[in-house]
Amino acid sequence: MEEKKYSRIGERMFHTVLPNGLHIYVSPKPDFQKSYAFFATNYGGMDMRFQLDGKWLDTPAGVAHFLEHKTFDTEDGNALQDLAANGASPNAFTSTALTGYYFESTEKFEENLKILLSFVSIPYYTQESVDKEQGIIGQEIRMGDDEPDTQVFYGMLEGLYAHNPVKENIAGTVESIAQITADTLNLCHKAFYDPGNMVLCVAGDVDPERVAAIAQEILPKEGHAPVARDYGPTETEKAAQSLWEKEMAVSTPIFQLGFKDTPPEQGEAWLRWELLGDLACEALLGTSSPLYARLYNEGLVNEAFSYGCEAYPGAAFLCAGGESRDPEAVRDAVLAEAERIGRDGVDEGLFQRLKRAAYGSMVRGLNSFENICVSQSTAHFNGYSYLTFPEVFETISKEDVEGCIRRVVTKEKTALAVIRPKGGAV
């Protein structure tokens, strides 16, 4: 395997690609008790329309997530139990553009890795177990229906996008998952759970060559290129609707602001967009910004305020949200501050401090194996290496940040989603 050293941040990363197209990354962590393996496919909630064997197929919302639940089933039982019996903590998640299966364990790493690679790559879906899962996932969806943070985030996406499937609920709806059959799952497994569309990332006190050898032994010898997907027509630059509202049993209004941007190109440009987006948020409304201090002092935001940026195929946005008695006032204040920064610029001292702080936070984030593996997998699918962030970060100037705020944080690109207390209060 090829080794890359990132001495400034004290990291190393081994990389290789198998003949079947699977990319493998290993981050050696000799002093730790646990090892962590993350096996992911470039397939998430937004990948609903795709081409397989020359035909375009449409699938209901929620298939990627449903598949994730059912993939643990094996001919002999359930892989979750096999891993847990070895003391491993296995789990999986489905996000907008990725499905990942992982475990962490302190013993029997190689045996656990074999189980992971095997159950994810061998489909075993029966109609009986699919029918049964409708009940469990139905309850998961109902749970999400009661979670204001989940609801308000989807509301913001609904506000920003006219048709991009980024806005679809990853778990689907009780109605959409009712359409899923064992055939649907087999088809999607064939399309997306192919080594050529997947990545394996491991962190821990492990031998990188052994990881590659085990993957070579367990996985199919051949793979195919990733299938083509369709995310609908290109979105306009403007938000589809400026305000989305809903009432729920909450104590105070909960809001999410979204600012729609043009999606970045794959490769280093993608990483640069994310780093720039984060810094733009920090400068505009981050906890060190003059705007945040003002909003906090006026009681318009509290410690629940958070912000960030996300990029997907055909969709990219900055966002900020939390609790506020007057979400519209927060939105107006953010837009006014963006206009001021567009005119007067960001304070040089503040910019330098923010950069230093962001660097420190990212390096501290490397304590987490999950963060390293998930970030590197996402990076791989978007064409860059995560650990190059310090170098790319250095190239970002104050003018870049000002330009980003000027470009993205404007009235017509803004969507506000608000969950209001039902009947005025609980």
């Binding site: 008790q33 019996a85 903590s89 296995p90 309850q139 009681g299 401090r353 660097y359």
Partner: protein
């Protein structure tokens, strides 16, 4: 292997430090221990948030943020925890480890200085807390208390605890009661703050690359001027060994999914008991893992819910079962949960269940050594309970504890209170 050392720095001030080079960050916490009481819970919960607003040298949020940004984006967060019947208030800080700064400057000494400054030299007006800050933080605390209802899963757990311990201090919420928040003045908060500083046990915790002796010196300097006027007892927790006839509490709210929580007494077994490893094994077998009886039966076999799990409150001798179910299925779920506990009392275990529960428990204790945050919580909790057992030592005990002992623990468990959050009528 990391070494854990404990030293008394001043009267009633103890430092627990873990020396290790494996993390990219250092973690530092300062925690005052107060007895959990209805009358003082709210003001104690307010104090760290008030202190975090500003110090003599950094009188507002912006100057504090600037100082933290300069320390590579260090974080100092107010923390309010409930450990047994002790309310633990203070600060939790995370900083870039000195090895990774860009200019080789040391972060730890400055970070500790800043945290000490926040604890000891707050920004004041007319000899008490600043009235503006007090008003704003009271409003934020009220929001925080009221917002507990927003997360229904946790809310249902809080409610069952409140109901079952309504005649014990443990029934008091971590953040206190709304009416007590309203009554706080800058002067009353100041008086309570002075009392806490002078008479409370102060627990300090550090994990990072600095040697114990160096940390002692740094913290002694950072805490110069701490008033010490006697007292310093660690608050005691009263354990009620077993329940009377079970009580049922139902509440209706506008929710999509019902939440069923069941509170049990553990027969007096706590983290301090010789039988504690048996209780841990019992909980893992019953509902603590994905190989547990609750997961495999209530979720997988009967598809009644997305989650059904049990957890221990180890210093108070309680076990809580938490589950999200369809309203109409609540009786079925409750019966099944009781039936599974009965199976544990009969010792109805397959060898793989026992092995799975044991491996899972050992692994989750050992991986604690890979997380600075989890280790901090462990050692602060142990300090509150007056215990010195390390996660490794408990892991060792888990290797040898017998199934018979776990069965005995299951027999000691009794149901105290059932709480059900249901939807509105009709």
């Amino acid at each position: 292997m990391a070494t854990v050392k404990r030293t008394q720095l001043m009267p009633g001030v103890f430092l627990t430090s873990v020396n290790t080079k494996k993390f990219k960050s250092s973690l530092l916490s300062m925690t005052l221990l107060a007895p959990l009481k209805g009358e003082t819970a709210a003001v104690n919960a307010l104090i760290p948030y008030l202190l975090r607003r500003g110090s003599e040298a950094h009188p507002d949020l912006q100057s504090l943020s600037a100082a933290l940004d300069q320390l590579y984006g260090g974080a100092i967060d107010p923390v309010v925890r409930k450990k047994g019947e002790a309310q633990c208030v203070g600060f939790l800080g995370s900083f870039l480890d000195d090895a990774y700064t860009l200019d080789g400057s040391g972060v730890l000494a400055q970070a500790a200085g800043l945290m000490g400054e926040l604890l000891l030299r707050p920004y004041t007006q007319a000899g008490a807390f600043c009235p503006d800050y007090t008003r704003q933080e009271k409003a934020n605390l009220l929001d925080r208390i009221r917002a507990e209802v927003n997360e229904k899963r946790q809310y249902a757990v809080n409610r069952v605890l409140e109901e079952m311990c309504r005649e014990e201090p443990y029934g008091v919420g971590r953040l206190g009661r709304e009416a007590d928040v309203e009554a706080i003045t800058p002067q009353s908060a100041w008086a309570q703050y002075q009392a806490l500083l002078a008479h409370s046990r102060l627990e300090l915790y550090y994990c990072g690359s600095a040697e114990h002796d160096e940390v002692c010196i740094i913290l002694q300097r950072a805490l110069t001027g701490l008033p010490r006027e006697g007292g310093y007892e660690v608050p005691e927790t009263v354990v009620v060994p077993s329940a009377q006839a079970p009580r049922r509490v139902e509440e209706a709210m506008d929710v999509a999914q019902g939440k069923l929580t069941m509170g049990f007494r553990t027969g007096g077994i706590t983290a301090a008991s010789p039988d504690y490893p048996a209780l841990v094994l019992c909980n893992a077998l019953f509902g603590g893992t994905t190989t547990s009886k609750l997961f495999l039966n209530v979720r997988e076999k009967l598809s009644l819910c997305y989650y059904a799990s049990s957890s221990l409150l180890r210093y108070k001798g309680l076990m809580i079962v938490s589950s999200g179910v369809e309203f109409s299925n609540v009786k079925k779920a409750e019966d099944e949960i009781e039936a599974q506990l009965e199976a544990c009392r009969r010792g109805d275990f397959e060898p793989w269940e026992v092995e799975g529960a044991r491996r899972y428990t050992v692994s989750s204790l050992m991986t604690m050594l890979d997380s600075q945050g989890r280790q901090e919580d462990w050692w602060i909790s142990q300090a509150v309970a007056g215990l010195t057992q390390s996660p490794q030592e408990l892991a060792q005990a888990m290797e040898t504890v017998s199934v018979e002992a776990a069965v005995a623990a299951a027999k000691a468990i009794s149901l105290d209170t059932v709480y059900f959050l249901k939807g509105m009528e009709g």
